[in-house]
């Protein structure tokens, strides 16, 4: 009796094991396939013009064989960095407020609001930016669609990500730490700065990585408010084009080399994300060593 029971259990386990292996294989294969496809589509152009021209050409005019991606790489990095810089302190502080400075009822309501913010589709943000924010900036400093507009919209969009992840990681700080800090007679802010935030560090870093990923990948909203001129911006009011916007703008009509150049944009984006994942991995490793 006992014997047959364990044997059927083991059979179930093997079944599960193979099912999981199969599913893992599929997920892994999808990423590899995408990468393979990107490279496959980009290779004819690499063979024709070489790698360096994507960074040394005078400008981006794929129809006349100029393929400089640097201004768009700069655009992506600037918009992402600026919005992450604004959203991160806001998001973490909003989580701190939620946990330590407000009655639970209001905190619950506030959390629901942030979740609502996270659920708004990006095209809605973009549309609002295009018809409200951009004309507003235009009145201060024409032309309006600009690095600034893109940064503000992106900040709004990634704020819920960092706020919710920070909220969850603050909630998982061991209560003993907090009790211990209180027993030491630490004030509320001293306790948050000295005990809670360091204890929640790993979760907060994850939040930052997630919001950065979202900011890099965002397309529609950025496309609608950034102006999309291919240039390295000299001020906050200059229009910029991001790599994602570049693909979305031009794919409908791109043929031959132009099309391949857009796949190179995709490859560069993929490289950026890989870099981000690597940085996250390093930061997390530093935590546990």
């Amino acid at each position: 009796m006992l014997n047959s029971n364990t044997s059927s259990q083991r059979r179930n386990e093997t079944l599960l094991l193979w099912l999981l292996r199969g599913l893992a294989l599929i997920s892994g294969a999808i990423i590899l396939l995408i990468l393979f496809f990107l490279i496959w589509e980009a290779i004819p152009l690499f063979q024709q013009v070489g790698l360096s021209r994507f960074f040394t050409d005078p400008s981006w005019h794929p129809a006349s064989n100029e393929f400089n991606l640097t201004p768009m790489l700069a655009g992506t990095l600037l918009v992402t960095a600026a919005s992450v810089l604004i959203a991160t302190p806001l998001g973490i502080l909003s989580a701190v407020f939620c946990h330590y400075y407000t009655p639970p009822a209001i905190a619950q309501l506030y959390r629901r609001l942030i979740e609502l913010l996270a659920g708004i589709p990006s095209v809605v943000y973009g549309f609002w930016g295009l018809v409200v924010l951009v004309p507003l900036i235009n009145r201060i400093h024409p032309p309006g669609p600009s690095l600034l507009a893109g940064t503000l919209i992106l900040t709004l969009m990634i704020l819920p990500t960092i706020a919710l992840v920070s909220d969850a990681s603050l909630a998982s700080v061991a209560p003993e730490y907090i009790k211990g800090a209180a027993a030491l007679g630490l004030g509320r802010w001293a306790m948050i700065r000295g005990v809670v935030l360091p204890a929640a560090r790993s979760g907060l870093i994850t939040g930052v990585i997630l919001e950065t990923g979202r900011a890099i990948g965002e397309t529609m909203a950025v496309l609608m408010v950034c102006g999309n001129v291919v240039q390295v911006p000299h001020s906050l009011f200059d229009p910029v084009r991001t790599l994602t916007a570049n693909i979305a703008l031009e794919m409908a009509y791109a043929v031959d080399n132009h099309r391949a150049a857009l796949f190179v944009s995709g490859l560069v984006l993929m490289g950026l994300i890989a870099l981000l994942v690597a940085i996250a991995e390093l930061l997390n490793r530093g935590q546990y060593d």
Partner: protein, 283 residues
């Protein structure tokens, strides 16, 4: 136990095969039950015509379930070459045939026109071709220079590869490289929203979408070119200069399925598709 380890993935794989099989077989069955017209058409060419042709082809396929129509874009010159060599049954060309292409047969399925638009509050009523060229190359950067108020001009341009940009640049003899823009946009609607939100902007979009928006309360106005008002009517009657025909071309006089599809693409029944894509019906 070993046996089971190989059996499980095998059975999963087989199930997946059968499942996919059932997916693909049902439409085939539907095809066989349908009308007598059978066959396959290949269309290649202009990336301007391709989206329109693809929509028309979709409707044609749904009305003639035995027919498969394959639409590939690759530029007008590919449309000419493929039609000539017989690689494609029908070529798509977004311009009138040149003199050395008169061996081919062209059938216009729509016309495409581009209109320069300004914000309604802009006092400028018209611009000469030279003034537009100067504005788009940043030789003129203030509305004062062309009779407007003292405000910097926001130049709205289309993204590289767009057919509107091609037609605009071709008419004003500009290289896309020479155009210096403040805002680059994708589709017509985005261009109209950008100009409607900025009293100092100048842009250009397909006439179809511009006229629709201007008559439905969007604060934009269409500028005349060489004294001809920008309107769908003037594109249809070929009075408006910034326009071009969208053609289907064949090597010889079309026959059979080829002929049937071209007639379908020129019929009243697809005019809603033509208008939906902001083109002007040819007939």
């Amino acid at each position: 136990m070993k046996k089971l380890q190989t059996l499980v993935p095998l059975s999963i794989g087989l199930t997946a095969c059968f499942w996919l099989q059932s997916c693909s077989s049902s439409p085939q069955a539907a095809n066989q039950a349908a009308t007598s017209t059978q066959g396959k058409l290949v269309l290649t060419g202009s990336s301007t015509v391709a989206p329109l042709a693809a929509e028309i082809a979709k409707r044609y396929e749904s009305e003639h379930p035995g027919v498969r129509i394959d639409v590939q874009s690759g530029g007008s010159s590919r449309g000419i070459a493929d039609a000539r060599q017989g690689v494609a049954d029908i070529g798509m060309v977004s311009r009138a045939l040149k003199e050395n292409e008169q061996d081919l047969q062209a059938f216009a399925i729509a016309k495409d026109g581009v209109s320069v638009i300004l914000h309604q509050a802009n006092p400028v009523q018209q611009l000469s071709d030279q003034q537009i060229v100067d504005i788009y190359t940043k030789k003129i950067t203030n509305w004062q220079a062309v009779g407007g108020k003292n405000a910097p001009i926001t130049v709205v341009n289309k993204a590289e590869g767009r057919s509107t940009l091609e037609l605009f640049a071709h008419y004003f003899k500009l290289e896309p490289k020479d155009i210096k823009a403040d805002v680059v946009i994708g589709d017509n609607e985005q261009g109209i929203k950008t100009v409607a939100g900025n009293p100092n902007a100048i842009g250009y979009v397909s006439i179809g979408s511009a006229e629709y928006n201007a008559t439905h309360g969007t604060p934009i106005k269409l500028l005349p070119v060489k004294g001809v008002a920008a309107s769908i009517a003037n594109v249809a009657s070929e009075k408006f200069p910034i326009s071009r025909p969208l053609n289907l071309v064949t090597k010889t006089a079309p026959t059979g399925l080829q002929k049937d599809f071209i007639e379908f693409a020129r019929s009243q029944g697809v005019q809603d598709i033509v208008k939906q894509q902001y083109f002007v019906p040819a007939t």
